[in-house]
């Protein structure tokens, strides 16, 4: 069953990603559905272990072999999960840009930077090596690097942190991307480097106008780039809100507590512990830590409610 997609570039429907261990099943992503509009950037936020990164890996089909995936991901009328891996790789490799976390380890230490940038066009667009290097030169120049002729011949260890960051982004955009997927691009970076990443993302948006999913727990970073915030908790999306209203008025109790834990606000930790992904709590997944939990929360899992236009929240408080 394929629908005609006009405004959406990616439709994710009821994705369940489980990892099979020796004697247990870890439910990392447990029924996530959303649509990504063309040119729309969304930010997936949530604490570590909430399944944000696994969701990205599911979309990119780079999961380890013990993963079981159910559901569908439809991109340009093709279900990326049902086609063969080599076919999926051709589509994903060409149209999706993946920007990984930890800039230190993401580049190949024994290949020239220019070649790593050129690799994608060589693989997917039949570029020659020389054409690829020329393209790398052009991209690095457009990202504001000086002395690009030298830089393309350098190895990652010869670059400074800021240069590495831009090289990584250059790898992502060597073919103009349709969808940008970034996995915590600011983890462990200082405030000035973070600024640089924000500028680079804004540049990508202006230049190529792609859609994007940014997974991060750095809220100050996310709020500057994305249009919509998706809050993930225990493998599920529990709140969807436009960026502007989310930060002024978060609806879900978890979102409220998460914002309060920032150093810029109250700096209070969320009470309790993250739930087990093997045996998630019954009813609402957040009820053991929720200050407003009552008996219905313990028994019945809430559906999505729409208390305001354009906002969705998975919480009984808004059920009326």
């Amino acid at each position: 069953m394929l629908m005609k997609l006009k405004n959406e570039i990616l439709v994710v429907d009821n994705i369940k990603t489980y990892f099979k261990l020796d004697n247990a099943i870890v439910k990392a992503v447990n029924g996530v559905s959303f649509t990504l509009g063309r040119n729309e950037f969304i930010g997936m936020i949530g604490e570590s272990g909430s399944g944000k990164s696994v969701l990205l890996y599911t979309i990119l089909r780079i999961l380890p072999p013990n993963a079981i995936v159910k559901g569908s991901i439809i991109y340009e009328n093709i279900n990326l999960l049902s086609i063969k891996e080599y076919k999926a790789r051709k589509i994903i490799g060409k149209d999706f840009a993946y920007i990984p976390q930890s800039i230190g380890q993401a580049l190949n230490p024994v290949l020239e930077v220019g070649f790593q940038i050129a690799e994608k066009p060589i693989e997917h667009l039949n570029y020659s090596k020389r054409q690829g290097f020329k393209l790398a030169l052009k991209i690095l120049k457009s990202l504001g690097l000086r002395e690009v002729n030298k830089t393309v011949k350098m190895y990652p260890h010869e670059l400074s942190g800021g240069m590495k960051q831009r090289a990584l982004i250059a790898v992502g955009i060597s073919i103009p991307p349709k969808v940008v997927l970034a996995d915590e691009p600011t983890k462990g970076l200082d405030i000035i480097k973070k600024r640089l990443v924000i500028e680079l993302f804004k540049y990508i948006r202006e230049r190529f106008n792609p859609a994007g999913i940014i997974v991060s727990h750095d809220l100050s970073f996310v709020r500057e780039i994305v249009d919509k915030i998706y809050v993930m908790y225990c493998g599920q999306i529990i709140e969807i809100a436009p960026t502007t209203t989310f930060f002024s008025k978060p609806l879900h109790p978890y979102s409220q507590l998460l914002l309060k834990s920032l150093p810029i606000n109250d700096f209070k930790p969320i009470p309790g512990e993250p739930p087990s992904m093997i045996n998630p709590p019954k009813g609402c997944k957040f009820h053991p830590r929720c200050p407003y939990a009552n008996s219905i929360c313990r028994r019945v899992e809430p559906g999505f409610y729409t208390p305001e236009h354009g906002r969705f929240v998975k919480c009984h408080i808004y059920g009326g």
Partner: protein, 326 residues
């Protein structure tokens, strides 16, 4: 955060750790021909029981400075004093007898402990080496410790890769505090953790600091976080301490142009800095001269000293040269 306020008059308290003129040079390139001044002439005093933050961008030499203070790295020049003992001239054997009073929490918790050891063994190792407890009391002591950092006992029988980042970081704090240190240097202990876990770890750390009254040197690049943690702040740039003062003063009224740009990024989100960290051709003059918007001709020629300004503050900038004459 008002967990405890023990700081009225910091002048009267005695110094715990003092560094004078620390220099560390790293050589790299062909035949070690190129030099990097990772730490360049740093003077620093840490008082008993105070909380100090060391803030700077990555590559400014924060971690190297921490390692020099603990003699994990040997400084090329300069001296480190612990109370009245000069650590830099001690033999290895004697150093070992003193240094356990100074503990360190590294930035990456996942690499800090032995991967094959259970957490219990890792936490108990310093106690066994220093013979601080008898084997009968050992278990109870460890349970007390992990209670302090709010860890559950069943975690002790797991290995580092089987626990979450937050739990691991708490185990590392427990291990560092097991020997009751007088100084704890925490090197960006939360930069890899999510905001809720970060808040929890910092709360635990500060609570323990209040109870045990050790000196805390907290290294971070997040000024917003520093505001919650410390009373005194040191700003580092390019291997030097460029500004020193109480956190309130520095945040409200930054003096050094670099601190000003840092705080304006924080408040207004504007990027004053240029991206490329160009190595200056000559090493003369102020380290900040090629970015500084207020530079004078003096800055290109001579390196500014750390100038004392009112309110017990110091700044390394020629703009405040008039304060010297006073």
């Amino acid at each position: 955060m008002s967990l405890c306020t023990n700081y009225g008059d910091s002048n009267r308290r005695s110094s715990l750790l003092r560094a004078v003129g620390l220099v560390k040079i790293f050589h790299h390139g062909l035949f070690r021909s190129r030099k990097i001044y990772a730490v360049n002439n740093v003077d620093l005093t840490l008082l008993h029981g105070e909380r100090v933050c060391l803030v700077g961008e990555s590559g400014s030499g924060k971690t190297t400075l921490a390692k020099l203070l603990l003699l994990i790295l040997k400084p090329d020049k300069g001296k480190v004093y612990y109370k009245d003992i000069e650590l830099t001239s001690l033999s290895k054997e004697k150093l070992r007898r003193v240094r356990w009073k100074l503990q360190y929490i590294p930035q990456h918790p996942e690499n800090a402990l032995d991967h094959r050891w259970k957490l219990y063994d890792s936490i108990v190792e310093p106690l066994r080496i220093l013979k601080l407890t008898t084997s009968n009391e050992e278990k109870r002591y460890v349970y007390d410790l992990i209670g302090m950092v709010k860890l559950k006992p069943e975690i002790l029988s797991r290995r580092p890769r089987e626990v979450s980042g937050g739990e691991l970081q708490r185990a590392i704090i427990a291990r560092a505090l097991a020997v009751k240190p007088e100084l704890l240097i925490a090197d960006e202990p939360t930069s890899m953790l999510d905001p809720s876990t970060q808040a929890e770890i910092i709360h635990i750390l500060l609570k323990l600091q209040c109870r045990n009254k050790f000196t805390l040197l907290f290294i971070t690049h997040d000024i917003e976080l520093a505001r919650h943690v410390c009373d005194r702040i040191l700003i580092m740039y390019s291997g030097q301490i460029v500004e020193e003062g109480s956190i309130k003063d520095v945040l409200n009224e930054p003096l050094h142009p670099y601190t000003k740009s840092l705080i304006s990024v924080l408040k207004h989100g504007s990027l004053i800095h240029v991206y490329d960290h160009v190595e200056p051709g000559n090493n003369r003059g102020c380290k900040y001269k090629h970015i500084c918007p207020y530079k004078l001709s003096l800055c290109l020629q001579y390196e500014p000293p750390l100038i004392r300004v009112p309110n017990n503050r110091k700044v390394r900038c020629w703009l405040y040269a008039h304060e010297i004459k006073k």
